[in-house]
Structures are given as structure tokens and as C-alpha cells.
């Protein structure tokens, strides 16, 4: 049932109806008649507080989540979101702080943000950090816009191409376009590394930069990264690091040391701020010396013992402002708290155990007969299984497995990404899962394989235990029904 179906016109709004001052607000409404709303507000339901609480509590129960299920969604880093981060980021004073509050009334918050910048510099090996981008994609935008600003400032305006591997996350090419670039795609080799020869072909005077993630979205570490960096730099291009996920490298290797000029980081992955059913995130960027002048504003600066926002005056060549205020503060707070709890040693361990879990899960699945996309390679924080054979033999497609896993109380891995690997499952267990849960997942995969061999329909028609059976996506797109009307 929809909330609107609980609504009854005329329902009192209860304890939320604010008594307020004695003034007659109707009489004192100074808004000119002609500007007043005439149409009804009936899209806002009139329900009791209990009805709303009950409705949304029940709705929540229909979701899978990290707090209820193992969620090995590759590239998404579904790790435990510590509850302390939530309660501390929601301390009343933090929630009540106005973004434009005077700086001398904001030192607690600004100090925290400054320290977060410093920690992110350290883990990435970068020289500057701006926290303002509100998600990975906006971080990418910031980074590529900075590359562009750099070339523009040098009058190097022939450069109109951004190179992306075919395995790149969709936000990479989409971002390049938003920054006014053309996208040049390069293939991935059989071993998961970028095709270096193909890259050589396309790098040249038109190259503004290359967007890479390393380990790549194939779940393997790009071994020739130093050569790639040299190649691109020699041609006058810059290197962008898609750091959506640092889980595989935290404390092991740093994008700055690999030669990257700019990076965005999804704090909502590596640094464990919750995904919230789709967001919010935070896509902080880090950059090398030469890109410092172009960072998006504001950035937190420190002078003596006090902190203030650096703005256009301080960074006159900035690519500008990307959010109304200064990004997703509440998300940044959560990431900061998490990082302080990890501490120096904990940071290393994230990569170590994310990698241990991924490699263990990979070999266990391989031992049970599943085919790996890159069998010769180490897994990074994630790895890819291809169901090419199973799909052909028993209709056990990646989608079917994904749905059937739900019946076994496991969230599905990422499916059909990266695009060039058929029937693939991109599997990322993260470091916060225990061995028993990995073993449980392997057992479930083996069960599904047996089911498919025995009775393919059982698998292709899944799920059976969810609030709905398989949904008709085609109908959804063809007969658009995007809003309710009574």
C-alpha cells in the first residue's frame, strides 16, 4: 500500500502542528494575492504520525542492507558502517550549525575538516585536498575540470581528448563529456591490464589526460602503471585516478606515488559512510602540486591555531564552486570519525583484509568450479567470475544467479560490469566480513549451480522469497508510471 492510500482529507496534523506565536498568521500573510498558491496540496498525504511511522518502518523491512545481509556488490564496497559515526555526526551541535555561521563560531567543525584533508593527503600521496564534491562523479568532474583548467592556463588548448579503458566506470566517460572533452576508449587485455600498445597509439598532442583506476574495475592491479604514467606525461597529458575505491591499496601504495595528478575518493566506500539506499556520498579530490591552484572551493585553511575557508580570493584560479555550501558535511564527519578509529595501523589493515577476503573467496569459488575472468591474477579488493559457460549450459545467467542469491539471503554481486566480460559477477566482500560469511556465500553459489543443473527454471524464475517476484522492467520504461494519482 502506498502512503497516499492511508491518507484521509482533513486528518489533523497533531503534535507537529506548530503553535507558534500569538500572531494571526493568516491575517499577517503579506504575500500578494496574485502570487498565492491556489492548487491543492493533496500530493502531501494526510496521515497520522503513527501511520507514517508504521508505513515507513514496514517499508524499510523490505530492503536488503549491510546491517541485515552480506552484500558483496563489486565496486560498491559494502562494508560495515560503524554506528558511532552516525551518532557522533548527528550530535545536535553539528546538526544545528549553519553553513554560513561565522568562522569563529565554527572552529570545532573546521578543525575536523582540516584534519580530514590532511589525512586524505597522506593516504593518497597528494599535495592538496578539497572536500567539496558531493559524490564520486562530482569528484571526477572536479578532477577533469582541473585538468582542463591546467591546460587552459598554459594556453595548451589543442587537448580535447580524455582516454578511458573500456572497463572504466560509466561515470568516467560521462564526466569527460561534461567537461567538454571527447572520449577515446582503449581495450583491456586478456590478463586484465590495459592494452599498452593500444594506449601508445592514441596518446598524443590531443591527449588532455587519461582516467584510470588501479586496481582497475577488473579487480586487478595495473602492473605497468609507471610506464603508462610516463607515456602520458611525456605526451603532455595528465593522469586522473578514479579512487572510488581505495580499499585495495590503503596504506600499501599511493596514487600520488604512481604518478597520478588528481584523484577523487568515494568516502562513502573506502571510508565507510553509509550508502543510504543511493546516497549521499562524498567525492573529495586530491591533487599534485601543479593542480593545486585549480581545486574547487571552499577548502579549509589553517592560520596559526585557527581555521577558515579558503575561497575565490585565496584560490583565484579555482575551477569554482560545486555545491551551494561546502559539500556533504555530515558525510565528511562520518568519514573523519571512521578514519580516526582506524588510525595509522587500521588503514593498512583495511587493504590487507579486503584483499585477503577477496582472494580467499576467489580461490574457493574457483575450487568449486566457477570460472574466473582473470585466473592468473591476484584479486585486489574484488574479482570477477564469468558465467559464460553456465549461462550457455543451464541458462544460469549472471542475472539469474543474482536473483536466486536473494532467496538465499545474500545480496547479489555486481552483474554485467565491466561490460566487456560476458555474464560476469564482480564480487567484493570487503574486510569487515568474517570467514564464515564468505564460506556461506560459496555454499550458496554451489547450491545454485546444482539447482541450475537439476532444474534451470528454478533459477531463472527466482526470486521467490522477496516481497515481489521478478519485475517487468520493460513495462516500467514503456508505460511510464512515475507518480501516483488517486
Amino acid at each position: 500500500m502506498l502512503i497516499f492510500e492511508h491518507a484521509v482529507e482533513g486528518r489533523p496534523s497533531g503534535a507537529q502542528y506548530i503553535n507558534g506565536s500569538q500572531r494571526d498568521t493568516q491575517a499577517e500573510n503579506r504575500i500578494p494575492e496574485a502570487l498565492r498558491r491556489r492548487s491543492s496540496l493533496n500530493s502531501i498525504p494526510e496521515v497520522s504520525e503513527l501511520q507514517a511511522v508504521r508505513h515507513y518502518t514496514r517499508l524499510s523491512q523490505l530492503n536488503f542492507s549491510i546491517d541485515t545481509q552480506f552484500y558483496p556488490l563489486g565496486s560498491c564496497t559494502m562494508k560495515y558502517n560503524p554506528r558511532a559515526c552516525n551518532s557522533l555526526a548527528m550530535l545536535p551541535e553539528f546538526l544545528g550549525r549553519h553553513p554560513l555561521a561565522p568562522e569563529r563560531h565554527s572552529q570545532g567543525y573546521l578543525e575536523t575538516m582540516y584534519e580530514l584533508q590532511e589525512m586524505l593527503k597522506e593516504v593518497t600521496g597528494m599535495r592538496g585536498v578539497s572536500l567539496t564534491p558531493m559524490a564520486g562523479a562530482q569528484g571526477e568532474f572536479a578532477g577533469v575540470a582541473m585538468i582542463r583548467a591546467y591546460h587552459d592556463a598554459r594556453g595548451d588548448d589543442e587537448r580535447c581528448e580524455i582516454i578511458c579503458p573500456d572497463a572504466a566506470h560509466g561515470t568516467n566517460p560521462a564526466t569527460a563529456i561534461m567537461c567538454g572533452y571527447k572520449v577515446v576508449e582503449i581495450p583491456t587485455k586478456k590478463d586484465g591490464d590495459v592494452d599498452f600498445e593500444a594506449l601508445k597509439e592514441v596518446v598524443g598532442p590531443k591527449t588532455a589526460g587519461i582516467m584510470l583506476t588501479n586496481p582497475s574495475t577488473c579487480g586487478v592491479f595495473e602492473r605497468r602503471i609507471k610506464e603508462i604514467a610516463e607515456l602520458v606525461h611525456d605526451a603532455g597529458g595528465l593522469l586522473y585516478y578514479d579512487g572510488a575505491n581505495l580499499n585495495a591499496i590503503l596504506g600499501k601504495v599511493r596514487p600520488g606515488d604512481m604518478g597520478f595528478d588528481v584523484i577523487h575518493m568515494n568516502l562513502h566506500k573506502t571510508f565507510s559512510t553509509p550508502h543510504g539506499g543511493g546516497g549521499p556520498g562524498a567525492g573529495a579530490i586530491g591533487c599534485s602540486e601543479r593542480l593545486l591552484p585549480y581545486m574547487p572551493i571552499p577548502v579549509v585553511g589553517k592560520e596559526a591555531d585557527s581555521y577558515r575557508y579558503l575561497d575565490q580570493q585565496d584560490l583565484p584560479e579555482t575551477i569554482g564552486r560545486l555545491s551551494t555550501f561546502a559539500g556533504n558535511a555530515g558525510v565528511l564527519l562520518r568519514a573523519y570519525i571512521y578514519m580516526r578509529m582506524l588510525g595509522r595501523v587500521g588503514m593498512h589493515r583495511v587493504a590487507e583484509f579486503a584483499t585477503l577476503n577477496a582472494n580467499y573467496l576467489m580461490v574457493e569459488l574457483e575450487k568449486r568450479g566457477f570460472e574466473l575472468a582473470f585466473p592468473e591474477r591476484r584479486a585486489s579488493h574484488e574479482f570477477i567470475v564469468t558465467l559464460k559457460r553456465e549461462a550457455k549450459d543451464y541458462q544460469m545467467s549472471a542475472k539469474a544467479v543474482a536473483k536466486r542469491l536473494l532467496d538465499k539471503n545474500y545480496h547479489a554481486p555486481t552483474i554485467y560490469f565491466p561490460l566487456h566480460i560476458p555474464e560476469c559477477l564482480l564480487i567484493e566482500p570487503t574486510e569487515t566480513e568474517a570467514k564464515e560469511d564468505l564460506d556461506g556465500f560459496v555454499a550458496a553459489m554451489v547450491e545454485i549451480l546444482e539447482e541450475a543443473q537439476r532444474d534451470p527454471d528454478l533459477v531463472t524464475q527466482a526470486p521467490y522469497t522477496q516481497p515481489v517476484r521478478q519485475l517487468d522492467d520493460v513495462k516500467a520504461a514503456r508505460q511510464l508510471d512515475l507518480t501516483y494519482s488517486a
Binding site: 551541535e93 590532511e118 560521462a174 543510504g276 549521499p280 588510525g343 595509522r344 580467499y360 512515475l482
Partner: protein, 452 residues
């Protein structure tokens, strides 16, 4: 080892299964030269108790004042139920609802949200959110450029009364795509843009016109006339609105003869705490005609194998993960959790509750402005009505006044000299429904003192 559950013996078993001797060996594909030793600038781990004390201390330093700043972020009452439900693990720690069958909670909620927002703005459809108000305006401009096929100019008119940070953001985001944002001056009398200021562009190829209602000063624009002017001129109309104000004023879908084409703005006043500027969310609604140009996720209602109603992400071919370089935007992660809160907020407040918040915010602000205008040398900058902000001219430098009032525990407002120096010593104040008569009087007296 915070958050890592492995016991030594499990580690051994796992290494054995993999066939390596140490965890370190798992990193053997990384060139030796690149491997780092220690992150020496990272402080040592704090346990939860320590970090709690640290953060409580920091929070305390920033708290305690009575806030009269608005300027795009508004302090409103939020029912306690809203965030208690929103932070339930199943909403809080879920991913984007790609596996629809295991995400019906989030999906149905977004469908309900879309319905509420489309109704509030009187537009046909809504997406599932963008980052915030400013970046939503940028996306709306990009969308208008895609959507107005007849226009070639990529020129967009933006009144000077549009929130300056929105204008900055829109500029930063669209400039690389050869889009030109042209500033239309506002009147120093009314604080709004006169129709005549638009007439200067009559007959020109203008792709779109942006109108913020109420505008940054809280003043009202002539939305009907400007909308009709724009449509007559072949331009699309982008309405930027405080959604709470829409409980009182004409929604963008009803501006002029045909309504705005795109409505966007910041959803913050509908259930998001001030929280240092975020996370808020950008809402975006549009006409049915433009739906395929919309950026961001959209949820549709459909049926399952057995004909039962269900919800799923739809029109994904607009999005980067499918269409890559041809997507309507690069946006992926949005502000889902804040939308969750906002939807619950609207349901709990109801139309009467929301309207009451808007009315009281309007009444409080006007009453406070009236009261302080009795102080010598304090006057309204603009003529005409405003919503819940008022620009005041002060007889003393604004920064000094703000400082003096802060010493009395009051955040006096936004210093307009930062972006509108032409207005002289002007301050923008806002008194929402959270302020009592006592608070208003306290403000007035503090201001009197600060000016004395």
C-alpha cells in the same frame, strides 16, 4: 583491529586455502618500488569511546547560538520520528536499489517522494534527487540546453537575484560545455528583476530563463510575466524554488500560461537539518515532455511475474552506467538517504503542518523586520513583499554588527556586502517558525546594543 573480524587461526586457514604464506604476498603484483611503509602522518587509532569524547568536545565549541541566518539553508522543525526511521539500518546501509526485488522499501519510498514533489511543484514528474540546490540548477541548465532543440545559442538568462552560490556553481559546471550564463540585473528598489530587464533580450535566441522564487533576498519575482515572456521568446523556463514556500505561493508548474518547464531547488527545508551545509538534496521536476532529458535516477511502478505491483529504477538508458558518454549526466550516487528523511518528513508534517511552518516563518520574519526597523537607522532595503527573509540596511558596518551580536549568542544573518556591495551595509535575516516571540525580542535588543 577495529572492524576486522579475523582471528589468527582463520587468517592462517585462509592463507593456506589461497596458497600463500602471508598477506603481504597478496600484494606481489604491485611493483616493489611503489609499496609504502607506514602512513606516518595518520594519528594512532582511537577507540570509540575516545573518538566520542573528541567529537563531543568539537561539537560543543560550535553550538549554543540562536541562529537567524538563512541564505539558502533554513532552520526548521523536524519531527523526531523522521531521522529515527531514516537511520534504521535497512535504509541507512542499503546500496542503490539495483536489485529491485530486494529493495522495494527504498524504491516505493522514492516513488512516493516523486509523487509528493511533482504535486508540490505542480509539475508532471520528478527524479529521485540530485546533489543539492546549486548543482541541481546546473543540471537543469544542461537539461534545458538538451531539451530546447530549437535553440542554438546555449545562452541562458540568470537574474542577479538568484542565489549567488547557485550562480557560481552553475557557472563552474556548465562553462566547459560552451554555455553562456547571462546576468539579468535586479532592481535595487524591488530586489527583483523587472520584466523590462528581460525585454532587452527580446527576439534573441535564448535557450532558457532561470527564475528563483522567492529569490535570494526573499523577494518575489514576477513569475507569471517572465514565464510568458520566455515562452513567447522560445526559451524554456527553469524555476528555482524553496519547496516549503510552495505551500504558500504559486508553484512553478502554474506560472504564466503554461508553467515552467523544469523546477528545481534544494530540498533542505523539507526535513534536512542545517548540518554545516549538507547533506541536503537537489530536487528536480519537469514536464512529461522533457522526462527523457532528465538527469539522475527515476523510479517507476510496474508489475512482477505474477502481476503484483512493484517498483524499479526506470529509464536507465539516460544514465551513465548504461549510456556512458551519451548519458544525460554523470551523476550516479545521489542523496537518497536525505530523500528518505524528506519523504517521511512530508508525510508526518502533512500539508497543514508544512503550510504552518511556511506561514509562521513568513510571519516571524516580517514581525522581526518590522520590529528592528523601529531602531534608528535600520531600514528595509527593498520595497514589496518577501517570504521569510528580509534585507536590512544598517547604520554601521555589517561585519561589526555580526561580531557584536555573536558575542551575545546570536547569529545575526548573512552579510550581503560579500556579494552585493552595491546595496551598502546590508544584512539578510531570516526567522523561521523555530523562533519564539522572545527570541525575536532578544534579537532586536541585541541589535540595538550592537548599533548603540
Amino acid at each position: 583491529m577495529p572492524f576486522i573480524p579475523h582471528t589468527p587461526s582463520e587468517i592462517d586457514q585462509m592463507l593456506g586455502a589461497i596458497g600463500v604464506d602471508s598477506i603481504d604476498q597478496l600484494f606481489d603484483e604491485i611493483p616493489e618500488a611503489l609499496r609504502i611503509g607506514e602512513l606516518s602522518a595518520i594519528p594512532e587509532s582511537m577507540d570509540e569511546m575516545e573518538v566520542s569524547r573528541l567529537m563531543q568536545g568539537r561539537a560543543r565549541r560550535d553550538g549554543g547560538a540562536l541562529n537567524f541566518i538563512g541564505a539558502g539553508a533554513y532552520e526548521h522543525h523536524i519531527p523526531a520520528a523522521v531521522w529515527q526511521i531514516t537511520t534504521r539500518g535497512e535504509f541507512y546501509s542499503a546500496y542503490t536499489p539495483y536489485q529491485a526485488e530486494a529493495s522495494q522499501g527504498t524504491l516505493q519510498l522514492i516513488y512516493e517522494y516523486q509523487t509528493m514533489m511533482a504535486g508540490l511543484t505542480a509539475m508532471d514528474v520528478s527524479n529521485a534527487s540530485l546533489y543539492d540546490g546549486a548543482s541541481a540548477l546546473a543540471e537543469a541548465i544542461l537539461m534545458a540546453v538538451r531539451g530546447n532543440r530549437k535553440s542554438k545559442s546555449r545562452k541562458v538568462l540568470v537574474p542577479g537575484g538568484v542565489h549567488p552560490y547557485y550562480r557560481d556553481t552553475a557557472y563552474a559546471i556548465v562553462k566547459n560545455q560552451n554555455i553562456e550564463l547571462v546576468e539579468v540585473p535586479y532592481s535595487e528598489v524591488s530586489g527583483a528583476s523587472e520584466l523590462s530587464a528581460f525585454d532587452a533580450y527580446a527576439g534573441e535566441d535564448i535557450t532558457a530563463v532561470v527564475i528563483q522564487q522567492p529569490n535570494f533576498f526573499g523577494q518575489f519575482e514576477a513569475v507569471d510575466a517572465i514565464t510568458d515572456w520566455a515562452h513567447n521568446n522560445g526559451s524554456l523556463v527553469i524555476g528555482v524554488c524553496n519547496p516549503l514556500a510552495l505551500t504558500l505561493i504559486t508553484p512553478p508548474g502554474e506560472w504564466g500560461q503554461n508553467g515552467a518547464d523544469i523546477a528545481c531547488g534544494d530540498g533542505q527545508p523539507l526535513g534536512a537539518p542545517l548540518s554545516s551545509g549538507g547533506p541536503y538534496y537537489g530536487y528536480m521536476c519537469c514536464t512529461q515532455k522533457l522526462v527523457r532529458q532528465m538527469p539522475g535516477r527515476i523510479v517507476g511502478r510496474t508489475v512482477d511475474l505474477e502481476g503484483k505491483q512493484g517498483f524499479a529504477l526506470t529509464l536507465q538508458a539516460r544514465e551513465q552506467h548504461i549510456r556512458r558518454s551519451k548519458a544525460t549526466s554523470n551523476i550516479c550516487t545521489n542523496q537518497g538517504l536525505v530523500v528518505t528523511a524528506s519523504t517521511i518528513h512530508m508525510a508526518i508534517m502533512g500539508p497543514k503542518g508544512l503550510t504552518r511552518q511556511a506561514e509562521l516563518s513568513h510571519a516571524n520574519t516580517q514581525a522581526l523586520a518590522d520590529r528592528v526597523c523601529q531602531i534608528d537607522g535600520v531600514e528595509r532595503v527593498f520595497e514589496g513583499a518577501s517570504f521569510h527573509e528580509v534585507a536590512l540596511r544598517l547604520p554601521k558596518p555589517v561585519a561589526e554588527v555580526i561580531d557584536a551580536m555573536e558575542d551575545q549568542g546570536i547569529l545575526a544573518g548573512y552579510d550581503l556586502t560579500q556579494r552585493y556591495s552595491e546595496l551598502g551595509d546590508a544584512l539578510l535575516l531570516c526567522a523561521t517558525e523555530t523562533k519564539t516571540d522572545d527570541d525575536l525580542e532578544q534579537y532586536a535588543q541585541a541589535l540595538e546594543q550592537a548599533l548603540a
